[in-house]
Amino acid sequence: MIQVSHLSKKFGTLTAVDDLTFEVQPGRVTGFLGPNGAGKTTTLRIGLDLVRADSGTVTFDGRHYHQLPKPMSHVGAALEATGFHPGRSARDHLLTMAPQAGVPDQRCDEVLELVGLKEAARKRVKGFSMGMRGRLSLAATLLADPQILLLDEPTNGLDPEGIAWMRGLLRHLADEGRTILISSHLLSEVQQTVDDVIIIGHGRLLHASPLADLARLTRQRTWVTPIDPKALLDLARQMNWTLERTPDPSTAQIVGPTPAEIGHACFAAGVELRQLAPQSQGLEDTFLALTHGQEAIR
């Protein structure tokens, strides 16, 4: 389990992380979401003792990162697709980590095969694509078979096939009881992967729940085209519905009630409708609404 508790960090006058508190449960894939500059990477870096917090703590199963006897075999972290010496081969990169991971050299070949880099193992990282670098980062995190995985934007640079593959892998790892945190600035990118979501903006916690609960925050929107607009307006006032204009002057949007409720009320009031259609609203809209105005202008 990962526990972030009252974490704060300022860079000069800029508050990157602001009294952030949340937990990440084992056996689940948790999405760590927020717009660019929300403080996701900073939070992860603080947890890994790369950046010092102004206040607050991050612990892994109760211990600080630097207190873990063999940190790499407890927490596997991929911060971004950089951090490779361009002249080193993929295999050599892992070999430099093997002694401290406490694994035999052949484990490097195993993880390279696991992430699909077997062919490129002896090629220099210089010639690697974004996706290949991402795979190598992932291989490095898996080297010592850690119980906790922290992946910063792991789908960056992966093709759809690669994303599907990673989804399967993370699911499998979570089912083995591991704690997995993946960050992203797009909910849609991880929506099919995650069980829980933690959403932050401006370094502050905006929402934390299972993914399913996020869906419940969604406000229903329904398209309605009345025969007599005035009758609908009267009914809306009476029912206390919020009516919104649409580009089509004959059509309005009602926010709040379900289509069934609207249909029933119109039938009861004798308001004839030409169209009654629910607007399919994705989770991404909910996410955007949550983080609305949170986009950093920096």
Binding site: R45, L48, G83, H85, R88, L95, A98, P99, Q100, G102
Partner: protein
């Protein structure tokens, strides 16, 4: 700690830098030593007019100058290698991985310093071998003695290797102090090729002894590598030395102190900093 040091070795030997620099060091030092041997032959012919006695005397004076040639002029390469083992980590952001593998920063720094000792030994041994091979070999070819039968010569050879080990540590310390790779290379080259040589000229030009100059890094290094033979060169007509070199043990201590003080400052200024 052994794992951290092993990882440092692996980092070192998995890029091309180590053998490219080794080739340069060996080539450069071998050429310098060979050049000196040729110069010696020329001097015997011209100045001693082929006098066998004079040649023998000069021969004696020369081993201590030919064999540490690499340590006295080619030392910048081990310095750069040591510095780049640190600055390269910042340049390529591999420092993140280094700190993830060993979050206790003082341990990762200690590992870098310890790992630099055997690496320095490799460079020191190869460089000195090049000097003995090219310089001594050429002496033999030209009909002089290479002096390898004398214990003194072996002391000179040992000091040369030791000097280069110390210089590698200085390099690591300097890399910690100035983590920008390009800047550190420029400063090392400027200081060793320009700043200190110019400073050391002042007593020769003015005739005023300036003892503190012997505590500068290159003077300290030369004290370890070349010792008395160099001081003798600076004797004025009255037999008073204007270039005063430290004794070899003090020189070693001074050089080591440069490395460790640089490293200590670098630890607080750079190594302990946030990485983002």
């Amino acid at each position: 700690m052994i794992a951290v040091i092993t990882a440092e070795f692996r980092k070192f030997f998995t890029t091309r830098m180590w053998w490219v620099m080794l080739l340069i060091t060996v080539g450069y030092s071998g050429l310098m030593a060979a050049g000196f041997a040729l110069l010696f032959d020329f001097a015997v012919d011209e100045m001693m007019a082929g006098s066998p006695d004079g040649a023998a005397v000069l021969n004696e004076v020369l081993y201590p100058l030919i064999y540490p040639m690499g340590a006295m002029t080619g030392f910048i390469f081990p310095v750069l290698v040591g510095a780049m083992s640190v600055t390269g980590e910042f340049r390529h952001q591999t420092i993140t991985g280094t700190f993830l593998a060993e979050p206790r920063r003082w341990r990762s720094l200690t590992a870098k310093l310890i790992a630099s000792l055997p690496l320095g030994l490799i460079y020191g041994a190869a460089t000195t071998l090049a000097c003995v091979g090219c310089g001594g070999g050429l002496m033999k070819l030209l009909g002089y003695s290479a002096g390898l039968d004398k214990a003194d010569t072996w002391e000179v050879i040992g000091r040369s290797v030791w000097t280069l080990v110390l210089w590698t540590v200085v390099g690591v310390g300097f890399g910690l102090l100035l983590k920008n790779q390009v800047a550190s290379i420029v400063v090392v080259l400027a200081f060793t090729q320009l700043v200190e040589p110019l400073l050391q000229m002042i007593p020769l030009l003015t005739g005023v002894a300036m003892p503190f100059l012997s505590y500068l890094p290159m003077a300290a290094g030369n004290a370890v590598a070349g010792g008395n033979a160099l001081s003798a060169l600076g004797d004025d007509s009255g037999g008073n030395s204007i270039i005063v070199l430290l004794s070899a043990p003090v020189g070693s201590a001074v050089l080591l102190a440069y490395g460790l003080v640089f490293a200590a400052i670098g630890y607080f200024v750079n190594w302990r900093r946030d990485v983002s």
